[in-house]
């Protein structure tokens, strides 16, 4: 019997059970999460972009979907879908840039679905989803003209970014446009903390969809994360105490 596999399986099944349970039980009660000022300002920035006819730039980073960084890309795509739905009444569709081809194709699919639902099947301009480069710095430098020349009023960087995110943050600052940024990468987070207008830290990246547009399963997933965090803290404290007592 492989104990680590069994524990992992129980963790996954337990989390899935909690997720479904919370989603069903709490589907009618509004969620009560702590307010994150960055998300309030994000909603304001989206509202302004819709009103003044400017564009939203969404960057999904370089998280390969068949690598551990794929989750950050999936979280970014989920947020892109919700933001594309929110801006569907705008004159200009959002632009999505990425440094990973699979994310480019999926972002095109997501934006097309959102656009066609809002407009009843009108022709979608596929050039809104762009691969800007395949290496970290070519991706960042390829995205810079989009930030500068496409009438962008708000930039949202959600995904797996390394230090190259600093160049994007600097360009957004120079254009005086709004910037919300989050990465799953520690170096990227440090760089964004210093350079981004609204940096998100750690798991806040995965909460954007829920804060932008509520859904029972997204709210339940945040609750499950909180529970797992408490379980982890108690386990670590117990482990430390047992180690101190010489039992481990």
């Amino acid at each position: 019997m492989n104990w680590s596999a069994l524990i992992a399986f129980l963790l996954v099944v337990g989390s899935a059970g909690l997720l479904l349970g919370f989603a069903i039980l709490k589907r009618k009660t509004p969620p009560s999460f702590r307010e994150i000022p960055a998300f309030i300002r994000l909603r304001q920035a989206i509202g302004r972009a819709v009103e003044d006819g400017s564009r939203l730039h969404f960057s999904l980073g370089r998280g390969d979907l068949i690598s551990p960084q794929g989750a950050a890309g999936l979280a970014g795509l989920s947020a892109l879908r919700r933001l594309a739905d929110l801006t569907s009444t705008s004159d200009r569709t959002p632009i999505a840039t990425s440094g990973e081809p699979s994310l480019t194709v999926l972002s095109q699919d997501v934006m097309q679905a959102s656009f066609q639902e809002a407009t009843g099947g009108s022709h979608f301009d596929a050039s809104g989803a762009r691969l800007t480069g395949l290496t970290p710095f070519s991706y960042a430098s390829g995205a810079l003209p989009t930030l500068r020349d496409e009438h962008i009023s708000a930039n949202i960087l959600l995904g797996s970014f390394g230090v190259e995110a600093g160049l994007l943050a600097d360009a957004a600052e120079r254009q005086n446009s709004y910037l919300l940024a989050a990465s799953d990468n520690l170096l990227g987070q440090a760089v964004l903390y210093a350079s981004a207008q609204e940096p998100l830290i750690g798991e806040e990246l995965y909460a954007v969809s829920e804060y932008v547009n509520h859904s029972p399963l997204h709210a339940a997933s945040l609750k499950v994360q909180d529970i797992l965090r408490y379980v982890l803290i108690i386990t670590m404290l117990l482990g430390a105490l047992l180690k101190l007592a010489g039992l481990l």
Partner: protein, 206 residues
């Protein structure tokens, strides 16, 4: 209908890969390997489609005579020339190595150098943008780590280089980083579960 099929494929595939990863059941392991092989082939095809997207976007910029169109033209020519050389010569050929080590690498390194300046300016602006205690701690820590790491003309600073920097880097920063990574790991788990339940569908359908 398209949405139901794609969601069902995503859920079934996800479950097979997950169970095949956790338990060594021969038939599931075989199917999991096959699915992963398909995923790798698809990822390679995605690179090809992505490069076509890159060409198409930059070609539009050149045709519409948009601002920066000249750079798009340079990109298209460079891409096609590199592609042709790569097709006719082997990837490890000296010409390919020259393109990589003498053009691509120096350009990326110069961008890295530019980033150092950008970050310095951003750090100075941080206190204006976020005037709070965390910004002061962030900048103070950065300064201490730099003072303890960089070679100084008068040698290593006593206490900073041998005590303070290792303590900050190996105890405070490492434990903070582990905390952040644990949070990211938990969020990754629930994000994966949302995809497995079909709540997140990053493939277009509602």
């Amino acid at each position: 209908m398209k949405g139901i099929i794609s969601t069902s494929v995503a859920i079934v595939t996800g479950l097979i890969v997950l169970i095949g990863y956790l338990f060594q059941i021969p038939i599931l392991s075989d199917i999991r390997s096959l699915i992963l092989d398909w995923a790798v082939i698809l990822a390679a095809m995605m690179i090809f489609i992505g490069v076509l997207n890159l060409l198409s976007v930059n070609n539009t910029r050149v045709n519409n005579k948009e601002k920066g169109g000249f750079y798009s033209l340079v990109l298209i020519i460079s891409l096609l020339v590199t592609l042709l050389i790569g097709l006719f010569l082997e990837p490890g050929h000296s010409v390919m190595n020259f393109i990589f080590y003498s053009i691509q690498l120096p350009v990326e390194k110069s961008l890295m150098a530019l980033l150092a300046v950008t970050l310095l300016v951003a750090s100075i602006n941080l206190l204006r943008r976020q005037p709070n205690l965390f910004s002061v701690i962030f900048l103070g820590t950065t300064l201490l780590i730099l003072l303890g790491t960089v070679p100084l003309p008068f040698g290593e600073l006593p206490f900073v280089g041998d005590v303070l920097r290792p303590f900050i880097a190996q105890v405070l920063a490492a434990s903070g980083a582990r905390g952040i990574l644990l949070g990211v790991a938990l969020a990754t788990l629930t994000t994966g579960l949302r995809v497995l339940f079909g709540a997140d569908r990053p493939y277009g359908s509602k």
